[in-house]
């Protein structure tokens, strides 16, 4: 279970003089700081998939980076299974599995070595690691090529390896930042199947994307972020409304008509 309350994250503007007129007019620019995230809240229960939507630069990636403790929040609260991320980032990191569309692999390592390295960094023993990697390999059908160097993998193989790496430590929450961006149809399908699998296992998933068809297919909850603030939060049925297409519903919310 994940709860995010009134999250804010700001960055100091390095060269204020170089800002364009449009950037200067952005309401998130306050003095020497730019608020990438100003007031974001959402909640995701066990077994739910929450779609995080928003235009480019809305603050989705920053929100997910703070959620996964890569960045520190300036304000607000994040709780994962009752643990406050700011107070115990190590526990939060153990609880989260993170994957994005542009997550890379160590090309000179094999897929097995890539996954095992992260398992060991998560504190798993050599034996546990071996067992878990084999389990994931069977589940994602990776056995035939897992011991080849990952620099020779296809995009589908790479994405399967990245998925296995993200969940090797059996996280209780999975965060996906545009996981299908730049992927071909087969690799996208692998990710979609993976999300379905997590949902079946009752694992909460936070899922940011620009593909509304994926949201329609997988998500239970939708949160729309715009200009660093939560602009909409409801279940998928309410989001769609009566007879609306996903695109129309999304655009209406951005225009403030939703």
């Amino acid at each position: 279970m994940i709860t995010v309350k009134q999250l804010a994250k700001r960055f100091r503007v390095e060269n204020p003089k170089k800002l364009t007129a449009q950037e200067k007019a952005d309401p998130r620019l306050k003095g020497p700081f730019f608020y990438s995230v100003e007031d974001v809240s959402f909640h995701c229960e066990k077994g739910q998939v929450l779609g995080l939507l928003g235009p480019n630069g809305a603050g989705k990636t920053t929100t997910l980076r703070v959620l996964s403790s890569a960045l520190k929040a300036d304000k607000g609260e994040i709780a994962i299974n009752g643990h406050n991320v700011a107070d115990s980032p190590a526990i939060a990191r153990k609880s989260i599995g993170f994957l994005s569309g542009n997550t890379g692999l160590y090309g000179r390592l094999t897929g097995r070595e890539n996954i095992s390295y992260f398992a060991r960094l998560h504190g798993m023993s050599a034996k546990e690691t071996e067992h878990r990697v084999q389990e994931l390999s069977d589940m994602l059908d990776m056995d035939a090529w897992l011991d080849r160097r990952s620099e020779h993998y296809s995009s589908g193989m790479k994405q399967k390896t990245a998925i296995a790496r993200a969940v090797v430590h059996s996280p209780s929450v999975v965060v996906l930042d545009e996981p299908t961006t730049g992927l071909d149809i087969m690799a996208t399908q692998t990710v979609m199947d993976f999300i379905r699998h997590l949902k079946a296992q009752n694992t909460p998933v936070i899922f940011s994307t620009h593909h509304l068809d994926e949201v329609a297919e997988l998500c239970d909850q939708v949160t729309v972020i715009n200009l660093g603030r939560t602009q909409y939060m409801n279940d998928i049925a309410q989001f769609r409304g009566a007879g609306q297409s996903m695109n129309s519903a999304f655009m209406n919310i951005l225009r403030g008509e939703g």
Binding site: F11, R12, E14, R65, S68, S69, A70, L71, K72, A90, I91, R93, K94, I96, F98, S100, N102, T103, G104, L105, Y106, G107, R108, L109, E113, Y117, F118, R120, L121, H122, G123, R149, R165, A166
Partner: protein, 397 residues
Amino acid sequence: MWLVVQKELKELLRDRKTLFFMIALPMLVFPAMFGAIGYFTSKALDDAQNKVLKFAVLGGQHHPELVQQISDDASFELVSLAEPTDFKQQIRDKQLDFVIELDANAAGAVLDVGQSTVTLYLNDAGLNMVETRIKEYVATLNENKRQQAFETLSVPESKQLALLKPVVLEKDNIAEARENWGEKIGGLIPYMLFILCLQGAMVPASDLAAGEKERGTLETLLLVPLDRTQLVLGKFVVVLIAAIVAALVTIFSMGFWGLMIGQGMAITFIQDMMTQIAVIDYILMFVMLVPVASIFAAILLSLSIYARSYKEAQSYMSSLILMVILPIVVAMAPGITLEGIWAWVPLTNVALAIKELIKGTMDYFALMGILTSTLVIAGGLLAFCVYWFKQEKVLFR
């Protein structure tokens, strides 16, 4: 931290580019350098010694026997000069190797005509043995004239030497041969050591931070429950190992190839030089290199952490090479010794200390001071590197 070290080393050893800069390049530089210097120097000297020199004589009528003696030597070829002629231009145009001009007193007895002058015109800019070879004839001429004078004056043989040189200045150079050649070439060794050390660390440093950012693996790595200090220290250790391995291979290569080529090509100078440096001095050179390698590793890793891509990191690092060369070149300048302010200038002091170790004149107590100050700088830079790695604005630029 050791998991990071282990993994990074595994990746490093699978990277051909890194292996080349870390091991192959230092192994190849010294045979190439010693071999090329030895081969070309001995070949040039040999050529200069055996070359048939074309020469002309002005005032040959003043000592036809001398002209005949030189002409009879198969390694000289007499060329007649057309009158009038610009013989200096002919020398510049390489039509002639030299011209000698004999004055009217050339053949006369020294007691009758006094001193005589033989003028040698040559282009002395390049390597040549003209003066050496012609000096032999002038020396014989001198000897003959002296003997003739002594006989005329009836000077006994026992007094002849004293008459020629009533007072002799005897020079006793207490500097050992090692100190002499150490002074001449000792500055070059740290120059190569530092540059190779830096080269060896550059590729892994670029890969371990900027490369991770570019590949998209750094963000994933930041999400593991490992303190960022441990993560960056793990990376630092690997860059340091790469720099030290490059330095070790460099020192080993220098010693090994110096001896091999010295023996193989009978270049006793190189052989003598290498064998005279004590094992302890080689060890101390390595010990001095460790903090230098740490300085390089910390700076390179900090630059790499700041860079958005591998290419950006490499461009920052290219500028660093110039900054490293400057203090080493200062150490190579004549008159700069390990005294006063120079004992406190980072890198320059280590370069000077290595030079002193090669010369065999190092004050080991002073070495401790240099080692300590360099370690303090390395520690400060490492602390900065760790701080830098924890900065969100740097990691997520």
